[in-house]
């Protein structure tokens, strides 16, 4: 009985960690410089 309870607790903990990792995701670095500029003039000629 004790083993089963421990197994359920372990599975629950693993599910919580997996959900947290999935929601948080990983990586991603915003650009450190520069910006958006509308295409115009020679770029659209």
């Amino acid at each position: 009985m004790k083993m089963i309870r421990r197994a359920f607790v372990a599975i629950g903990m693993a599910a919580l960690v997996a959900a947290a990792v999935r929601l948080r995701g990983s990586g991603g670095t915003p650009p450190q410089s520069g910006g958006w500029r509308e295409l115009s003039g020679p770029e659209l000629d």
């Binding site: 995701g25 990586g27 991603g28 670095t29 650009p31 410089s33 958006w36």
Partner: protein, 334 residues
Amino acid sequence: MARVAIIGVGAVGARLARQLVSTDADEVVLRDEDRGRAEMVAQSLGERSRVDTAGLTAPLDVDVVVLAGRPRVHAKQAAALLAGGAPIVSVSDDLSDVRGLLALDRQARSLGTTVVVGAGFAPGLTCVLAAHGARLFDQVDEIHVAKAGTGGPACARQHHRSLGRMSVDWRDGDWENRTGGSGRELCWFPDPIGAQDCYRAELPDSMLLVPAFPDLRRATSRMAATRRDRLTARLPMLWPTHPEGGPGAVRVELRGQRGTARAVVVFGAMDRPAVAAGAVAAVATQFALDGVLRRQGAAGLAELVEPLPFLQELARRGVRAATFDGEATRAVRG
């Protein structure tokens, strides 16, 4: 005298109809599952539009047919309407629609007509931006597309659905399926959308880009989503959607070889997705009416149109593309 039929007059179809009535078409024929909605749109457009009460796939005597209704029926509708011989333009961003429409290639060629696949904001404008950007490279080997925002309710439902389904990416000469909602990447969209976390989803952009760029090694597509979107993606939609959607944006990143160096170019655009999709579909329709589509058969805009005149016409209609100047790299892309 140019006559255009629009099947489906929701957020995108209604805007497309308005553009066509004001610029390109002498007569616009409207069909919709909801006859009342079609009549309301026709009334607002004036005497150059009329409602056709025949079935959605009943034969039409027009110069171009635009499919702008709910997704997952476009391939079936196109197959039924193709026999009429008029070019067909579809705005669907549903993967099964895009697959089904591309499968009509041989039939369209044998009939001497064209099926324009994915003529919306994304895919659509993204394909044109990719084709435009490719001119700056000797060889493009990676294209990564991202989109943020939704148009009308049908678009929002499609967005919700695709986030819970497998993505289709191109990797080293083969298609790769990855879980929707995975692969977070922070994408920097044109202002005021700015930085958004984007994830894999069942998006058709790669299916349209790979045939247009035979040397492509990698093609991926992602969509912006919140944590709530990801948590509820596999459930029915729990919240009502805005009838017109909010502001949105697209971003296309190209990587490749320029001379002896590696280069990265990023293009994007910001607009209300339904407005931009309506404008892209209107310009695609105009190209079909003018007979300037590059080939017969079924393909996306990257293959079918000359990107520069297309972007010029879009800019004239108020949808302006932008480029990102500066650092736009990240270390790892899955």
